[in-house]
Symmetry: C2
Subunit: 728 residues, 2 copies
């Protein structure tokens, strides 16, 4: 060993980073997780999966698609015991941890348990629910579900789905049918290989009349042989950007018949005679959408923390370039100001998202309880609808901007790992590929952001009329004050001061969107047209509002932490200010435009952000330690708790790609290197065409010359005669 | 067919988009490509590869890694004829097209031809060059090279590489050696399976003295058997984010001996006695780095155009949601203002990058010619060094910001395709995965951006002293004017007005970086420390400067287009303004800070950008048509020229995943669905432990009670005696 820089040294460097942490790491961890109980539950689940052979992690990047899917089934096998024996709340926490480890598997199980069983749970009558329960739906016995909603031609526009379910009154059956290619069910997770049943969304047609999209349980395969049932055509849709552990497929139905009672009838009922009863409160059935979005905000926070744990731990032990020729060692990446600028704001953001996710989960649970306890004619109906509206709009904005920001954070962290970040083994590339779908499913981010922007415009109009807004939009309650606020330099150093800045900029952004909208209305556009035409300013309003909302959640969480000498509150307060000011710098144009920041103060904001980057760097390792992510859960050599990054990477790479054995495509390589190139023959030369042409030309010239001479001698006519003397 | 919306309709929609294009598409295409000749060459290459079976494209997403690499070798086989028979210039154009089709293969061939052969070409003496030429290096006969530069522990810091090459004076050989794990050659493209020789970068050691990093040609495998040679250990480094068609590996050398003459000696010579002659002008040897960066700017432009062709053609035929309930059809995505906002600026940017790449290529060629014609003692030396400096700094900034922007453009375009964007078949996900490495290799983008920022600071200092700057930094020639400029509304509508804005904002950004740097110097920091500490403002300066530079290249290209009635110049002018204003909006905070824009004018900029989005939408399809990318080159069902997006996707998916055949993991699925769960026996109940405990306790209580009674009766002592009456 001559380099003087080996694994022992990276481990020593890491250990040094942990000396004298400025806060109690365990207390910080409890703050991140909301409670000691939730932290301990997560630790329990991480330990369990790390020891379960179904969750073996070292070889996953070099598996084929089929091998990965086999693993998916093995993991389901190891989980069905839990799903039938744990409370829903505990099981969901378990799934959150599993989702962080293996998003592809999480998706496959989530399709069955969250979407398929979820559809039955929320849309079946009690008798229907008991029927499927007895069939074994919860524990995946004898049946395993998929969720057939999207089609080749329709994703966002669910009401426009083309698959039909036509009631045959003679046989009391539904005829499920795919009328054309565009109506093919597409992207159906689990359909390609593993599902026996589907929850199929189709246009209900009775006596020639369309009643809109309803849900039907349709058997797809014989669960004993896995043969497709008559009229069902299914195929794999092939490789995807990520999550290849789930078998997405397409499904075409050709006049497939199912009993009338296979339509889920909690909301809409259809009698034996084809009479239809619609539900009184259609909007309340959409509460189910919220769960997915809430889970994605949490997953964004968790994934960001996982990514930053990799990036920050690697940057702590990676050294590159000496600060001076006689420096003993090269400099740790974390000590470069530009590397701090690359990673520290993202680290801070992941903490902010964590607290926001805790609060979003609370809001979701409150809303669910209110919805579940609602009775017909309930006096709380209006309040519940208001709550649902707020939760819907908040979750839409958060889902959009938190998943976008986290996808970007994963990619930036990957790039901050230099060339190694391009290896799947480091974990950030596959994490980004798996994560990316969050920006599209369960509501395309752009569409959700615009929904949130529309809600803000409407709220602004109501606030202007004097209506009191909830906590999330409290800055609209004193619009004049919010709009006219100006920062002093002290404001940049207090939680309250920064809060006022976000109130001001959000008020201005929402005001601009509202004015654009109202201007378009005045110019004669319809409401819908006007909203379309001002979509860019709606989008900006949602973006600025949501950043401010996240800052406020972070601030509120900090202020709930009890003051003590464990250093937790003080450092969370530092991070909250850091987040507030960094986002201010990122969205600086809106702050300048609102008048809250002067250009001089913007320079002060930038200085402070640079300082906070340097401050946060000092406790960056204790901070990622407080995220409490098991080495197995992260599954990256670069995030090894003990700092053994290089040996871990080398061991993993070598294990999966053993040397020796026959060369995989020796014949191809040899055939190339020892080929006999066909000699390029000079065909002109071989035929001697040029000499020949010259000869021909010379002969012709000779003949012509002769003719001319004869002509001149007056003998041309004779020589040209057909019956001349040359005949013999 | 009941939906009334099928393939015929998407094709009709696409045809309609091509009616009455507002410019001559062929003339526009020639403008993009710089000349008719270059356009026709590209068309020739696209046609050739589309018919070559080695380039079969429909199945590539579902191949395994080994299958993909077999294809790589087949493609090399189909290319070696061209490499030996075409001029370098023509062959490079061919490679540009091939790189757009298959970046993984491009990388494998580029490693051999660009890096390995390139190293020999630029660093071998004439005799050495002839030697390797005769061995077959150009046409890959009997040898196939790789480029062993980076190590596990060193990427950016090439001077810090740890591999050693020690001269053995007794045997006249180099001993190539890997001293420890960190010195392992890592990421070596082609090493894992296909290379016979490597160009190895190692610290040259002679008589105990280190002379820095030099290049050595080292045989790795017996080309006949592909067995590793003694002392060589090689393995695959496993799956990567993309470009898995190339076999990246690690290489460890253990005392491997090669002849002295296998060191490339054009620059540094080592004699038989171990005497070392260093080159007089070390900096001129770095010209080779420029070629890669120039190629990457071109690849960024080409890849962006390919991505946008997919996104724009799909958005033209994809319909979602009706604008009103009685609309005949759903609305084309391209007609939504927000979708125009998502795609049109990126489309415009790809055109800007295209013109910038043409100009960068010219600058590179000019620099190369100047370098090649340089003689010792040349009077042009200083001018050439200045030119090299400018080319270096310009290419560094362009490589960094164009590759970042294109990676983001690919991902945004992918998201704009909705759920389908997540399928590999659509092509955007794999394109992003392949492209991402451009942000890291041949100079990490962040490091390059900082280099560019450092050059700007130095130029600013020189300009302040009165030195005349070249065209790229002309705004520094009248700093006072640039810094004090203010926009009028008319300025937003002229090429010159927008140019002034970029001059102003760039001058301010460079000024700030310079002032930060000089302030740090005054506070006592060394030059290097001061540059590190102001890296954030250096980075901003490089970013703003480069956007302005790209705008100016675009403007200059527009102004070179001859005025005619073909509509080309007029539409390019529109796009140049669009690009200039959109980037102004993106970097609005710097424009407000510089004072060039007022907040009112910023609103005007935003309005114009929205208008330009709507304008560009009108000719978006003719514009992507003018990029002239063959359906085969793009290989995406969503970019089909004829608009047949859905049938093309369905056909491709079905071809690769045929129905029928045995289920791939039937046993696993059945084993899961029909498992016998172990009955959870109530062990407490089965053992009857609770009844038993009760009995035991009752017995004990009884005994105690008895004892107490006896005690009270005074008989305790007898009963407790060891030799009591119970003995018998």
């Amino acid at each position: 060993m001559t380099s003087g820089w080996n694994n022992t040294e990276t481990m020593a460097t890491m250990a040094k980073e942990r000396e004298n942490p400025p806060f109690d790491i365990r207390a910080m961890a409890i703050a991140h997780h909301g409670s000691k109980r939730d932290l301990e539950l997560k630790e329990k689940f991480m330990l369990e999966i790390s020891r379960d052979p179904a969750y073996y992690a070292v070889d996953i990047h070099d598996l084929t698609k089929d091998q990965t899917r086999q693993r998916t089934m093995a993991k389901i096998g190891s989980l069905v015991h839990c799903v039938t024996n744990e409370s829903i709340e505990i099981f969901q926490k378990r799934m959150e941890v599993i989702g962080l480890f293996d998003p592809g598997f999480w998706t496959r199980f989530g399709v069955h348990y969250g979407l398929f069983v979820g559809a039955i749970r929320s849309a079946a009558t009690p008798n229907q629910f008991s029927y499927w329960l007895e069939k074994g739906v919860i524990g995946c016995k004898g049946m395993f579900g998929c969720f057939c909603m999207t089609e080749l031609g329709h994703g966002s526009n669910v009401a426009g789905l083309l698959t039909t379910a036509t009631l045959d009154l003679n046989t009391d059956e539904w005829i499920i049918h795919t009328p054309d290619l565009l109506a093919t069910k597409w992207w159906i997770g689990g359909a390609a290989e593993s599902a026996t049943h589907g929850a199929v969304f189709a246009q209900m047609i009775i006596k020639g009349k369309r009643h809109g999209v309803k849900t039907f349980i349709v058997p797809l395969r014989d669960p004993k042989t896995f043969q497709l049932l008559p009229g069902i055509n299914i195929g794999d849709i092939g490789m995807k950007m990520g999550r290849n552990g789930i078998d997405n497929g397409y499904v075409q139905f050709t006049n497939v018949r199912v009993p009338r009672a296979y339509m889920l009838m909690k909301h809409t009922q259809v009698t034996r005679d084809g009479e239809v009863f619609e539900p009184p409160l259609a909007q309340l059935t959409y509460g189910a959408l919220l769960q997915g979005r809430t889970a994605m905000v949490a997953d964004a926070a968790n994934s960001a923390k996982k990514a930053l744990t990799i990036g920050v731990r690697y940057a702590a032990v990676r050294r590159q370039f000496k600060s001076s020729p006689d420096a003993e060692r090269e400099t740790q990446l974390l000590d470069y100001p530009i590397h701090q600028r690359r990673l520290m704001p993202l680290l801070c953001q992941s903490v902010a998202f964590g607290f926001t996710a805790l609060q979003m989960t609370n809001l979701f649970e409150e809303t669910s309880r209110a919805l579940e306890s609602l009775e017909p004619g309930d006096p709380n109906l209006q309040a519940t609808i208001e709550l649902l509206k707020e939760t819907h709009s908040t979750s839409a904005g958060l889902k959009a901007f938190c998943t976008w920001a986290t996808l970007e954070a994963i990619e930036k962290t990957r790039q901050a790992c230099g060339g190694h970040g391009y290896s799947s083994y480091v974990g950030l590339a596959p994490m980004g590929q798996d994560f990316a779908v969050h920006c599209t499913w369960e509501g395309d981010n752009t569409i959700l952001a615009l929904q949130s922007g529309r809600a803000l415009v409407q709220a602004y109009q109501e606030a202007r009329k004097g209506k009191e807004m909830g906590a999330g939009m409290a800055y609209m309650n004193n619009l004049d004050k919010s709009l006219k606020a100006k920062a002093s330099e002290q404001d940049l150093d207090s939680l309250e001061g920064i809060d006022q800045g976000w109130a001001c900029v959000a008020a201005h952004a929402v005001k601009k969107a509202t004015e654009d909208y109202e201007g378009l209305l005045k110019s004669g556009k319809s409401r819908d047209q006007a909203f379309e035409a001002c979509s860019q300013s709606r989008f900006v309003a949602a973006s600025v509002h949501t950043s401010g909302y996240i800052y406020r959640q972070f601030r509120a969480a900090v202020e709930r932490v009890e003051k003590s000498d464990d250093g937790v509150r003080e450092h969370l307060e530092l991070l909250a200010k850091f987040y507030g000011l960094w986002q201010m710098e990122e969205k600086a144009a809106f702050f300048l435009r609102s008048g809250w920041l002067s250009t001089d103060l913007l320079d002060k904001v930038q200085e402070r952000v640079t300082d906070y980057c340097a401050e946060t760097r000092k406790f960056a390792i204790p901070l990622v330690d407080s995220f409490v992510l098991h080495d197995h859960t992260i599954n990256s050599p670069f995030a090894k708790y003990d700092g053994s990054v290089y040996t871990s990477l080398f061991r993993a790479v070598k294990r999966n790609n053993p040397q020796g054995g026959p060369h995989k495509y020796l014949d191809t390589v040899k055939g190339l290197l020892f080929r006999e190139d066909a000699e390029l023959e000079d065909v002109d030369e071989a035929i001697g065409i040029d000499d020949e042409i010259q000869e021909i030309q010379e002969e012709r010239a000779e003949a012509e010359k002769e003719q001319n001479e004869q002509k001149e001698a007056g003998v041309t006519k004779e020589a040209a005669e057909p019956d001349g003397k040359n005949k013999e």
